[in-house]
Assembly symmetry: C2
DNA sequence: CGCTGAATTGACAATTCTCAATAGACGTGG
DNA sequence: CCACGTCTATTGAGAATTGTCAATTCAGCG
């Protein structure tokens, strides 16, 4: 079994890959046959679009990226936000299912997909890691489904704020404030709302004293419990009884 | 490498597992250490609920099952329908994230989760199959996200009809009609609508001549292209331009 | 300092939800 | 075989939320 970098083997890679690739300066080999290149992109640039062939695995070192799909009527559905430490791994063969756009300046590590897969197919541990990552994405997807199914703007935005707040990569010093790297439009396209509605809800939260909205897209959560109540911690997978 | 049953190795298992387990009568060993039991359940019964420990992998031989989660306000979000040939595989450790309820009489094959995982962890091919299944579920989840993001009842119902129509397991003889094994309420809880809205949309489709709604929850699609247009085959992952 | 894109706020329209009543299907039992 | 009861589906009317369109304020940047 080949030697795998910690960033691939560790269970918590999705949120923290510091220390592992931090050591790789100038494209040194991480494991036999699996190298990564550095790439930097500016805000607004696309890593790839839906029609592109899938050729790479991306690891985000810093910044924020969104994965989206264009829907009928010009509507855009963002299916995931990716932050520092997150992987973007093509799921199947063929063209990309999504487009990936940098929402801020982004620092990337890029692995050739073919090599990545070759390394995985020969190694059950690596394969298991990939599976683990896919499962984590699946859980995220189900969370988003729950949010979209709510049909409740306040609950959606509250869930979004709590989710983002849980990502260490986005915190700024001191008062526990979070930088929202995305536009109101991006939040709206993620939650299935309009940017006006997102704005209204945030203003409403601010007025109720649940959050502080500061300069530079900074948000600080003041009443976490109240937000959680809005989301409905009553959310439960338990049956409410046979039908 | 152990000998694996075709139902696990084949790529198209999610929709068709006939012929593989058809041969296993009375719990014979399928591969070393991996046996399955038969179980039958009636409509309305739960395979498991969200608080249960995850102990089994299920393969549906016949019938229909839904996976759901209860949301705040008593709202129920169905995250997936499972039909004949589909697996229900616990993703992570801990309790179930969802409840699973039989929507019709169901014939099941039940594998002990521990044995299933043991077989997988030692076998890169098996692991790869599991990954493949998870990825397929992920794609389904993203499809549902796209539907829920639409915020358009007609598009949602049209997408649902076309999706269900694509599942061979649900077709009845002759005129290409499909049996919808689920209630209007189930469809609504899947699409983030109310059963009244689902009913209204179906009636509207019927009046427009897009579908026939027959006896016994039978639906026949007459104007596939029109329904597809409603969904918006314009759906695309291609960027509409840099921002 | 002014320009440009983003965010906020307002007024109104549209869709869906809620509540309610009716009609239909299915199974049971007389 | 029909009547009844129950569950499901349909239909209707009104309420509520969000979307749409438009105008204004704000922030960042040259």
């Amino acid at each position: 079994m080949t030697k795998l970098p910690a960033c691939i083997l560790n269970s918590d890679v999705l949120t923290a890959c510091e220390g592992c690739l931090a050591r790789d300066r100038s494209n040194e080999h991480l494991i036999a046959g699996l190298t990564c290149a550095k790439r930097n992109m500016e805000s607004g640039q696309h890593l790839f679009v839906g029609s592109d062939e899938q050729l790479h695995v991306y690891l985000i070192r810093s910044g924020a990226v969104c994965l989206y799909k264009m829907l009928r009527g010009g509507r855009r559905q963002i299916v995931a936000f990716k932050f520092a430490g997150d992987f973007i791994i093509p799921a199947a063969n063929g063209p990309h299912r999504f487009s990936a756009q940098a929402m801020t300046a982004v620092e990337l590590r890029v692995f050739p997909l073919a090599l990545f897969r070759a390394a995985a197919s020969g190694d059950a541990r690596f394969m298991a890691r990939l599976h683990e990552i896919a499962v984590a994405e699946l859980c995220k997807a189900y969370d988003l489904i729950s949010i979209l199914g709510h049909h409740d703007a306040e609950a959606s935005v509250a869930a979004f704020l709590l989710d983002v707040d849980g990502r260490a990569a986005l915190h700024v010093g001191g008062a526990g404030a979070v930088i929202l790297p995305m536009l109101r439009t991006d939040i709206a396209d993620y939650l299935g709302l309009t940017h006006e509605t997102v704005s209204r809800v945030l203003t409403s939260f601010k007025r109720k004293g649940l959050i502080d909205v500061g300069r530079g897209r900074t948000v600080r959560i003041k009443e976490r419990a109240t937000l959680a109540a809005l989301v409905g911690k009553a959310e439960s997978a338990v049956s409410s009884g046979a039908r």
